[in-house]
């Protein structure tokens, strides 16, 4: 059936291929602190979806618990959302994906939600290569519970109360790479130019796309010295490549000098251009990604950008060979073997 396209309140606003304006991608008003990095990520998600002309209702938003996990309420108001329990979003997203392989699944989590209580589920979602985007809005602190250290908090950083944190932070990108994640990116909520194309690339990726976004908590962890602060990231953010996303069936206009650029053809027909800043970077090598992260780290820099892609990996439905029809759309005829078959089974039990 066809639907009247709404949202023409501002005829002057630019429209995408669906005739939607950015307003059709907005959500409820954010209740986060003014300046919270998470809000910029919500904005980037809206823009990416708008520019790619994604049907909002074909997106499912999932999250755990935390300020970061609240954000799905603040974007894509026409999408269904599920704010699950703390640290368990990956399981809910996996189940949702099992039920309907046709939707776009955007999972939003925080560093507490992912690296502490959620570590087990994160690891196994990566391993299953569930076809979804997993965004960790990483501010190195427990925001919603008011400033305790998380597992990604810098060593030595002093939380509001109590002692300085004595443990090494967990590097989620490194873990994801080690576990065989098929798309890994590291970026910064303050850098739209980088964030948006990365989200687009993640949307085009078939399989588990992990995006670790440094997203400063202005209230509890934006102090000078915090590696998760605006100042720090603005100063030390570095990237081994600049990401340029070319949507399906669009002309590749720009010219690139030999060796300075890497192209990744995604399965939906889009092409990701990586303008190499670091010439020896290899987007298809886990080892090189891990090595570069360590090298940059050694120089006191934070490596950002898309770190690794395996565009040919099999996502979970392919591995399981499930039907193309969303399972939830199957009905009695396909599902119920009927009474005759049952009587045959009875016979085998006599």
């Amino acid at each position: 059936m066809s639907y009247a396209v709404p949202g023409f309140r501002h005829p002057n606003l630019p429209k995408n291929a669906l005739g939607y304006t950015i307003q059709n991608y907005e959500g409820a008003v954010s209740t986060l602190c003014a300046g919270c990095g998470h809000d910029s990520i919500s904005a980037a998600i809206m823009e990416a979806c708008f520019e790619l002309s994604i049907q909002p209702h074909r997106v499912a938003k999932l999250s755990g618990i935390g300020c970061s996990s609240k954000t799905p309420t603040y974007f894509l108001g026409n999408s269904h959302g599920f704010n699950a329990v703390h640290g368990r979003m990956p399981a809910v997203a996996t189940g949702a994906n099992m039920a309907n392989r046709d939707l776009l699944y955007i999972g939003v989590s925080g560093d507490g939600d992912t690296a502490s209580i959620g570590m087990g589920q994160f690891v196994h979602a990566v391993r299953r290569n569930v076809n979804m985007i997993y965004i960790c809005e990483n501010n190195g602190v427990y925001g919603l519970t008011k400033g305790q250290d998380s597992a990604t908090t810098d060593i030595g950083s002093k939380s509001k109360k109590g002692e300085p944190n004595a443990l090494e932070p967990i590097d989620l990108c490194a873990i994801a790479l080690q576990l065989g994640a098929t798309f890994v990116a590291n970026t910064f909520s303050g850098d739209k130019q980088q964030l948006i194309p990365i989200i687009k690339a993640a949307i085009s990726h078939r399989g588990f796309a992990f995006i670790n976004v440094i997203s400063p908590c202005v209230t509890f962890n934006n102090a000078p010295g915090s590696t998760k602060s605006y100042d720090y990231m603005r100063q030390y953010m570095a990237s081994s490549n600049a990401v340029d996303y070319v949507p399906p069936a669009e002309e590749i206009t720009t010219e690139y000098a030999e060796g300075t650029s890497e192209q990744v053809a995604m399965h939906d027909g889009s092409v990701i251009h990586l303008h190499k800043i670091d010439p020896e970077s290899d987007i298809h090598s886990r080892r090189s990604a891990l090595r570069r992260m360590k090298d940059y780290d050694a120089e006191g820099k934070v490596l950002t950008g898309i770190l690794f892609i395996d565009e040919d990996s099999k996502e979970i439905h392919e591995t399981m060979n499930t039907t193309q029809v969303p399972l939830r759309n199957l009905a009695e005829p396909q599902l119920c073997p009927g009474s005759a078959a049952l009587e045959a089974i009875n016979q085998l039990h006599r």
């Binding site: 059936m1 269904h80 119920c336 006599r350």
Partner: protein, 614 residues
């Protein structure tokens, strides 16, 4: 020893070492008796271990169709030296003990009130089978042959079963049949067969089937239209998923392409398993998981979310002995309270209580209808005895006209036609059940945010007390509605009016009904009975208890958990409900129930022991 001949009314028990392949041999035997038209109820009593410990296979043969556990052994087949002393001691006076006489029997174990039948199984096998493993396997088949001879079981029936078992692998048939015949022959050489306990062909089985409850649950999930299963292995629930997988491979997989109309995910733990079920159900698929006590404990948080956010979910809890890891290979009905009140805050969950494989099949299929209709978790409360043992029951039946009740889910058309704003938690119909929408249905209408936090009728987050209260009270209304649509109890009344009743559920059924028969038969005590099939309780249950002076509540747990629920839901005077509790991990016996009820009644006429407080 001089004895009367007993036909088709005795208990035989095989004692073996686990991991030696004895299980399949013993099953061969039980199937043979079953094929001879004689009702049986075999119980596998196995250790939580893979190899080398004692394991037993106790089978009751009863042509009157009493199939609860009875207690007492007439014929023991002792193939395990470790447990021999205990196995001999267990035999009822006048019974038989069959053993492998390759090694002489310890004199101290001898009893003169039973007969010892020694047959040198191992000796024969040593000669015939050089290979160690083979020797072990064929020894099992051999003793089956001997026991068949001794008990007068038709050997051809067993041969037939062997053919069926090894269909395709013809090479295996011959040696097995050979071992069987060897045992049969040797026994007849050494002893005059049959002995006093005998099996004779009857026509008492009719079209009944012999199946495990777990297999039936798995089938129920297939017929009930489950497309997503997520689970984590745990005894005794694992075979529920094995069954689901097996029948999905058979019925839901394209033979050419191998394309699947289902998805089974082995989760990393039970938290993830129930999480996936909730995610899938939220997204419109019928989804379920199977687990046991420890898994239920781990699912607590998610069950509370599903209750409060109103997401369907089906859980099959194959109960084992708790608390904690308890006895993983023994049976109990002790997860009732945990499941009824799972998770923090004010929660109540729908429970179903199957008593037979047929009910496992039906209630599992029904669980999906209820879960989607009520938008809440539904837990099927099976147990190890029902789930892992072959149980005799009426054949499974499915009405091809039956369609799935997908509950109140709005279609794109309905949303398009909708004038007013969609309210996910509005009690539009006054039954406490709101309408839901599925992701991806309509571009601009019907989207909402599912959350474990409190919300208003439009699913918008709120901290307004009155909104919260209204929602919690609607959930109570929904609970009331649930009590009207869940399966009704099974009520049985002997002709004459009774002032006393018995309430039971799940695997206590067979033993309870047998006990009632004998109470009437032997003591002239007759009672009405009610088998609970579901929580919340329907009014029939309230009525039944009201119309009796008092009722016994038969359970397989320590704390009378179902009794607690009954009193709590209906505000009964506790004294009216007399607990009958068995919880040692073995299935409850008819004898036990009969004795408790008899003693109670003879001792108290109709005034209950504990005085009601005024």
């Amino acid at each position: 020893m001089k004895r009367d001949i007993v036909t088709n009314l005795f208990v035989i028990k095989f004692a073996n070492v686990n991991g030696t392949g004895s299980a399949s041999a013993n099953t061969l035997f039980s199937r043979a008796v079953f094929r001879m038209g004689v009702p049986i109820s075999p119980k596998n009593i196995f250790p939580s271990n893979i190899q080398g410990l004692p394991t037993w296979y106790e089978m009751r043969i009863n042509e009157n169709g009493f199939l609860g556990r009875r207690g007492g052994i007439e014929v023991a087949v002792g193939m395990n030296p470790q447990s021999m002393a205990r196995d001999i001691a267990e035999v009822e006076k006048g019974g038989y003990f069959i053993y492998d006489s390759t090694k002489p029997l310890d004199k101290n174990l001898l009893r003169d009130d039973i007969d010892f039948i020694g047959i040198p199984f191992m000796e024969h096998c040593r000669e015939k089978y050089p290979d160690e493993r083979q020797r072990q396997l064929f020894r099992n088949v051999m003793y089956i042959g001997s026991v068949a001879a001794l008990l007068n079981v038709e050997i051809d029936v067993i041969k037939q079963l062997i053919h069926e078992q090894f269909k395709g692998k013809a090479s295996l048939v011959a040696p097995n049949v050979e071992a069987l015949e060897m045992g049969y022959a040797v026994a007849r050489e050494m002893y005059d067969c049959p002995i006093a306990y005998r099996v004779e062909r009857r026509d008492k089985v009719g079209n009944q089937i012999l199946m495990t409850g777990n297999r039936a649950c798995g089938l129920g999930a297939v017929y009930g239209g489950a497309t997503v299963a997520s689970w984590y292995p745990i005894t005794p629930s694992t075979s529920v998923i094995d069954s689901f997988a097996r029948y999905c491979r058979q019925f839901r997989t394209d033979p050419e392409t191998g394309v699947k109309n289902y998805a089974i995910v082995q989760a990393e733990d039970e938290l993830a398993a129930i999480g996936m079920v909730i995610g899938a159900a939220w997204n419109g698929a019928r989804a379920f998981t199977a687990t046991s006590g420890p898994g239920i404990s781990l699912m607590n948080e998610f069950l509370g979310l599903a209750y409060f956010a109103e997401v369907p979910a089906v859980v099959i809890d194959v109960q084992r002995v708790g608390p904690s890891t308890g006895m993983p290979t023994r049976t109990q009905q002790s997860d009732v309270l945990t499941c009824a009140f799972a998770s923090h805050g004010d929660t109540k969950h729908v429970l179903l209580f199957p008593s037979t494989p047929k009910e496992c099949f039906e209630l599992t299929a029904t669980a999906f209808d209820l879960a989607e209709r009520l938008q809440t978790p539904v837990i099927v409360m099976s147990d190890l005895d029902l789930g892992m043992n072959d149980n005799l029951c009426a054949p499974l039946a499915w009405d091809d006209a039956r369609t799935y009740d997908r509950g109140k889910v709005l279609t794109a058309e309905q949303l398009e036609a909708m004038q007013q704003r969609f309210g996910r938690y509005l009690d539009t119909d006054g039954d406490g059940i709101p309408y839901r929408t599925l992701p991806g249905t309509h571009p601009t209408k019907g989207s909402f945010f599912t959350r474990g936090t409190s919300k208003d009728e439009y699913a918008v987050y709120t901290e307004a007390g009155e909104k919260y209260v209204a929602n919690m009270e609607r959930l109570l209304k929904k609970w009331k509605t649930a009590s009207t649509i869940v399966p009704k109890p099974a009520i049985r009344k002997p002709g004459k009016p009774c002032t006393v009743g018995v309430v039971y559920y799940g695997t206590s059924e067979a033993a309870t009904l047998e006990a009632l028969f004998h109470l009437n038969d032997l003591h002239g005590i007759s009672l009405d009975s009610l088998g609970i099939k579901a929580f919340p309780f329907s009014t029939e249950i309230e009525g039944f208890i009201d119309e009796h002076d008092y009722v016994f509540v038969v359970e397989q747990n320590r704390d009378a958990q179902m009794r607690t629920l009954l009193i709590n839901e209906f505000d009964f005077v506790p004294d009216k409900l007399v607990p009958v509790l068995h919880f040692d991990g073995s299935p409850i016996t008819a004898r036990f129930i009969r004795h408790v009820i008899r003693d109670w009644i003879l001792q108290t006429t109709t005034t209950p022991r504990r005085r009601a407080r005024r």
